[in-house]
Symmetry: C2
Subunit: 447 residues, 2 copies
């Protein structure tokens, strides 16, 4: 077996993931070297505080509070950026790339906002930037896009890529809890941050779909063009009606071709209980990728956490150490810095089935008005569910609103939203209607 | 982007998979070249008959009935072996490797029986042998083992890797059909061969677990040591009791560490309805891989069929054309030709829970005898299910056997089999008992 010279490594940021990476590089060094023929030498652990590092009893002679020694050390060829956030991480990444170091990162926000620019800096300096850990934690999903499915033109991606949201939704479904109750449960188990905004707003999932979409379709994505809806405004009633109708609610990161264009979006959707993503519960992640020759493939595993994410980081270190990653980086056309900025197709132009819950006053003709508005917008009703009315206890002058649940056949989203605005303006309807798209199984090619 | 010289390709065997590979290489050539920076030139399609090739309207100037021109053509660097079977495929593969051609194959039987030897021939001739398509069709599962999960020591693999068996089992479960009825349904849909032995006997799954096990654990597997049980002796009653008890029956290919050793096995098992593999239905495949840092990951997709399998074949061609595969082939230690033959742990030494269905004559003490025999063998009963007895219609002298369904706590398989032999010898028991192991979720490390 051919063995190459040592790959010197500096890990920048030694928190949960960084600590796990250092632990693997130190504890499992012999195992990894024997298995892969790469020689790995962790030389520096750079951070401001070393609480996590000390808890893991990592070798404290490696601790550095400044990047300088690592940057100047010619034996260090790989920087592992795990500080998180955007500003500092961007500075560190640029500095390392310009110093001729390869960079491995798990930083999805950084990649989603500045991926194309950083890839270009890497290329100018003859090094590369690897980021398997940025999507799906320990699941090798980016490798599927650039290697395992290389023979495919990718048709679509549907991913559950945020474990916090998936845990909260699973709680809401299984325990019939409100969003607030389920969030609290997730926080008490350490599965949601004290400020959970990045997760529950859908932003984190949007970072990941930006990265996957760019690589799957060979486009440069302007992150701000991605329409993002989180789970934080989801109502318990809608989660329960989903169940009644045979669906589950999942926060999906979606990337599809729409005509000649591409649509990326993040939103809570209804999927059938028989859908491949429906059973993915709790903190797990799963990504469905549809290729024009493979059809449907799916990748499942732990999307976060120290050691699963570290697994992806170390696999990138090994790929850079062995030189395989450089080949993909040099030859493949789909890297965002090699493609001009792409105008995404607005989500309003996409088609799907929809679930609509409208609060209707029990007056004759209300349902007729709704049906008529939908018809005017070219929307065809698939099913209507209206529970029995409660007894009228004599308060004859008070309007009493009851939920009417409608599902419609595939329709253009813009038409649905216009129709709902008109419906919500009717005197006979109450609070704002809920509108949630229903995601069906993506069609596969014929085999 | 760096582009390398043309990779000349010869496809040997132009049936379902070969035809799809040729179609992709011809039809999608520009797409693949633009995407991957590799230049691919299909020069020869070698077969005895060209029915499939003609149906696909492939360029008939490429047709050859002999290997000679392809072997002699220096521009051809990759042979794609898709003739199937063992004898001829082995000759072709050896001939190509000795002529200094890389070989890409989908042939699991060939790999399972002669993998180590062929890998060694490849290495002696400075070329490599790639076989992603041999396991899981279009699912890039071997890449997960050698690349995506490279940072892991693999703990276990559980795979549904035969679509025919999975389709038959799904039919038996969903439609309460017998094995024979479900097989017939699969055959009428073209999902089972006229002679289905290779699939239903478990042999095909065993080929795949031999390949995965070798690469996951870095061992050389003697195929004949793998205990294989198929679905062909599965009884409808047991499939239905599985449902009653909250399980589904799946044919699993299993590779686990047992103490310091490795166990590989193929058998129908009970898995909980909540298990990640339980929902995998019809012709789909899925492989769960447990790594010491990632925990549980799973890979799902179409495990057979022309274009999904061709996707894996073409991804290997691209990996060889770009040179990434050679790096893994040269440097990694887990290739079977680099490891001495490994003695597998006999399945009798493994532990699991078990389902037992015994036909018991309604005599006092029968159940007590069974419980006592199990106890003597150190086996602890978890649950007993005995349906109400049918009315005795006066035929007092006739013994009437009723099923007693027992599940037991984890026990050594050898002990369970000895106990069952004793139980089946009792006067109070009827036909041979069914014994099926219950596979629980594999434990993950702590994250």
């Amino acid at each position: 077996m051919k063995q190459q010279s040592n790959t010197g490594i500096a890990v920048i940021g030694c928190g949960t993931v960084g600590g796990a990476v250092c632990e693997i590089l130190l504890r499992d060094r012999k195992l990894l070297e024997a298995k892969t023929g790469s020689r790995l030498h962790l030389k520096y652990i750079v951070d401001r505080v070393f609480t996590a590092a000390q808890n893991l009893q990592l070798d404290d002679t490696l601790f550095e509070t400044s990047l300088d020694r690592a940057l100047e050390d010619d034996e260090v060829t790989v920087f592992v950026e795990l500080v998180g956030g955007i500003t500092t991480a961007r500075e560190i990444t640029e500095q390392a790339l310009r110093a001729g170091k390869h960079v491995v990162t798990a930083n999805k926000a950084l990649l989603a906002h500045h991926g194309a620019e950083l890839l270009a800096v890497a290329r100018q300096n003859g090094v590369c930037l690897a980021f398997e850990a940025a999507v799906g934690g320990g699941i090798p999903v980016l490798r599927a896009l650039y290697d395992g499915l290389a023979a495919n033109s990718i048709d679509a991606i549907y991913g559950i890529v945020n474990g916090t949201c998936n845990y909260i939704l699973t709680e809401m479904i299984d325990k019939e809890e409100s969003y607030e109750e389920a969030l609290w449960a997730a926080q008490s188990k350490g599965l949601a941050e004290t400020d959970p905004t990045l997760d529950v707003s859908g932003a984190d999932s949007a970072h990941k779909v930006a990265i996957m979409g760019a690589m799957a379709f060979g486009i440069q994505v302007d992150f701000d063009q991605i329409p993002v809806e989180g789970i934080d405004s989801l109502q318990r009633e809608d989660v329960m009606y989903a169940d009644t109708l045979g669906y589950v609610v999942k926060l999906l990161a979606i990337a599809t071709r729409v005509g000649e264009g591409i649509s990326l979006r993040v939103r809570p959707v209804f999927i059938s209980r028989d859908h491949a993503l429906a059973w993915v519960s709790g903190p797990f992640n799963a990504v469905s990728i549809y290729g024009h020759t493979t059809g449907h493939t799916m990748y499942y595993g732990r999307g976060a956490g120290g050691t699963p994410t570290a697994s992806a980081v170390v696999s990138d270190i090994l790929a850079v150490a062995s030189g395989t990653y450089q080949v993909f980086f040099d030859r493949f056309a789909f890297w965002p810095d090699r493609n001009p900025p792409t105008e995404l197709v607005p989500v309003a132009e996409t088609y799907s089935r929809f679930y609509i819950r409208t609060m209707v006053d029990d007056t004759p003709g209300a349902l007729a008005s709704i049906a008529s508005i939908l018809g005017t917008h070219g929307i065809s009703i698939a099913s209507i569910l209206q529970d029995e009315l409660p007894e009228n206890n004599g308060a004859e002058e008070q309007p009493h609103f009851v939920p009417v649940v409608i599902t419609v056949h595939p329709a253009r989203e813009a038409n649905v939203l216009s129709a709902i605005a008109e419906i919500d303006d009717l005197d006979a309807t109450g609070e704002k209607s809920s509108v949630i798209s229903i995601v069906d199984d993506h069609p596969e090619g014929v085999f």
